[in-house]
Structure formats: C-alpha cells, structure tokens
C-alpha cells in the first residue's frame, strides 16, 4: 500500500535521537550505503534495502530526490525468492534418477538426498527472479516521527532493523503506552499512575 494509494495503512514510529548536521547529506549517505542489493543473479533468498519513492526499480537518491518539502520520503524494498516446493520435488526426482542410474543403485542415502536437495534449491535460486515488495517511508525530521505505510509484522521488523543500521537511530513504535511516555501533558507522576492502572469493568 503506497502513500499515494486511494487507501493507506500507517504504522507510526517515534525516532529516538538526532543526526549530526548536515542532516540531508547524512540521510543521503545512509540511504545510498544501504540501497537494496539486487539478488536476481545470486543465490540469496532475500534482500532488504532502501529504494527511491518515485522509481523503486532503479533506485537513486541523487539531487535530494528523497526530499519532499520538509519531509524525507523513500521506500523499503524487500525482495524475496520463493521456490515452489513442487519444482524442487520435480528436479530432485530427476537428479536422484540420474544418480541411481550412474551408480547402478536402487536407492540413495538420506545424506545424498539432502545434498541433491541443497544443490537443486541453490540452482533454482539462481534462475528464479526475486519478487519485490515495496513499502513507503515518510520521515518528518522536525517532529522526529516516521510513518511506515504497512502493518505487516515482517516488514515493520525489517524497517526497525535497517533504520538502526543506516542512521544509528532507534525507532519506537507508537501505541498507547509509548504515546503516553512521550506526551508532554503527562507528568512523571501521571506516568507512574498509568503503570498502576488495571482494566475497567464496565459492568455494574
């Protein structure tokens, strides 16, 4: 779901800490350094990295293309190779038959079958292209807030990890308790009270 889709879902984060000036240059360097590595011609099953908002398939952050007004807008791209299990089974059966014929045996040991499976998976991994998943990120540096345009657990975990690696800043997900912690209207005393609360019984 993209920022410009007709319907959006947002997970909100608070950014803990600041980047040293010049901020835009530091963000550019971080994004560029952690840009998505292509895995179509390699064995890897998954690749995670930043890509540009407008052109996610040819990532570039040149010319402050990630700056929109006072916001940083870019995308997290997760490429995954999914090898259908039936395809693995088919090529395994072919390879097992070949090996049996070559050695004159009727069966192969469990270890031999495992080696064949690993080889088949690795060869198919080279031939199957990765499926890209793109999730937009909007960073309001002034208010230290990040909006991530998906609720998918796996994607959110990848965002939290890559953001820390890239900018050395920790993201805290906003939910009732963390909201209260950062709300200026709550004193330390109020927060202490909050931690002692228990659910209200609406029943009489």
């Amino acid at each position: 779901m993209s920022l410009l889709s007709s319907a959006v879902s947002i997970t909100r984060y608070r950014v803990n800490g600041r980047i040293e000036d010049p901020v835009t240059e530091a963000v550019y360097t971080g994004l560029r350094k952690n840009m998505l590595p292509e895995i179509d011609d390699v064995e890897s099953a998954q690749s995670v990295g930043w890509t540009s908002f407008q052109d996610p398939f040819t990532p570039s952050f040149e010319g402050s293309s990630f700056v929109y007004g006072s916001y940083f807008v870019f995308s997290l791209r997760i490429d995954k190779k999914t090898i259908p299990s039936k395809l693995v089974q088919k090529y395994m059966a072919i390879e097992i038959a070949k090996k049996c014929q070559a050695t004159g045996r009727e069966f192969l040991s469990r270890n031999e079958k495992k080696m064949i499976k690993d080889n088949v998976t690795s060869l198919l991994g080279l031939r199957i292209p990765a499926t890209p998943n793109i999730y937009n990120v909007m960073w309001n540096y002034e208010t230290s807030l990040v909006w991530f345009f998906t609720h998918l657990k796996g994607a959110n975990e990848e965002l939290e990890t890559l953001f820390k690696t890239t900018f050395d800043l920790v993201l805290t997900r906003i939910f009732p308790f963390t909201f209260a912690e950062s709300f200026p209207g709550m004193s330390g005393f109020d927060l202490d009270l909050l931690t002692t609360l228990s659910p209200t019984k609406m029943l009489r």
């Binding site: 959006v8 947002i10 916001y71 909007m138 997900r173 939910f175 109020d190 609406m202």
Partner: protein
C-alpha cells in the same frame, strides 16, 4: 523501564477503553468533539465495530458490520463486559473527508480513504500530491492524538472512575432499553 513488547501487551486495554469512550462520546457529544480544532472536524461512527470480551479463560470477539443504525447490536456485548478493540470512523471538515479504521491496542489507522488529491499528470505533480496527502493525514492523525491525549489525562485521574465510567454505564443501560425498530 518496561520492555516494549510487555508494555504493548499489558497496556493494550488503555486503547480499548479509549475507543469505547470515543464511541460513547460520538453518540452523546459527537457534534462538539472536533470544534476546538483549527478547522472544525465532525466525527461519526463508520460501518464497523469490533468488540472483545477479555475473559480470563477465553477472549470473545464480536464484529458488527453494516449501517450506522445497527450500532445497538454493539450495546449488548458492552453490557456483558466487552470493550471496543477496533472502530471504523468517518470524519469531515469544511473541505476534507476521511474514512478509516482505528485499532485500540496500537492506535494505528488502516484503510484510510481521504478527499482526493489533485491528479498526477507529470513527474512534477508527484511532490505536490505527496505533500497534500501528508497534510491530510497529519490533520486527521493530530486530531486523533488530541482525543487520545484528552482521554489519557482523564484516565489517570479519579474523573475516570467517578464521572466517565458511570456516564458510559448509564448510556449503555439507556440504549440497551431502547426498542429496536
């Protein structure tokens, strides 16, 4: 300091109580809810309410979908101790409209539909569309945050137990007794 996952699970009920209170407020005081905003916002119930009864042995989840008039169906679960865990809302200001689902435990919004931004006919239009969309989102999210702040301030005082809860209970009883047409 509490671990994030522990805080999320232990205090999820605060978000559920917030949504239950918000539903009560919309029904009883909806027209005044967003009047203090820079651009007054009118908040109304959408077409979906999810309630959950946090029983010790098993949680009971009830989803009510359909027209606004069917909201009475949610009163009985409230009477039986359920709280609202998700609420579908519709908001309107002089120039903007929003429709979205709000989840209590995470305060996250989903399926957010808004007034249409201008058409994107060239690459130059993208920045304008992004900024307009962000403005629309910021307006509604700040409004939700303001409501949650109001709830939080009350929740940690005795006003919650002595004023808000009895009022909500009265509202439940009144609507439970209302004949269904």
């Amino acid at each position: 300091m509490l671990d994030i996952a522990t805080a999320y699970n232990r205090y999820g009920f605060i978000g559920h109580e917030f949504l239950t209170w918000l539903w009560y407020l919309i029904e009883t005081d909806g027209h005044r809810l967003g009047q203090s905003q820079p651009q007054p916002i009118l908040l109304a119930l959408g077409k979906r309410i999810v309630l959950e009864n946090p029983r010790e042995d098993h949680a009971e989840k009830i989803t009510i979908k359909g027209d606004y008039a069917n909201f009475e169906a949610g009163i009985l679960p409230l009477r039986q101790g359920s709280l609202v865990t998700e609420l579908s809302l519709e908001a309107k200001s002089a120039e903007m409209t929003w429709e979205f689902n709000l989840k209590g435990e995470s305060l996250s919004v989903s399926s957010m539909k808004m007034s249409t931004t201008g058409p994107i006919e060239s690459l130059d239009d993208v920045e304008g569309a992004v900024l307009e969309k962000v403005y629309l989102l910021e307006t509604i999210l700040q409004f939700i945050d303001t409501l949650f702040e109001r709830f939080l301030k009350m929740r940690v005082t005795k006003d919650w137990d002595e004023k808000a809860v009895p009022e909500i209970q009265q509202w439940i009883i009144k609507n439970e007794a209302r004949p269904t047409l």
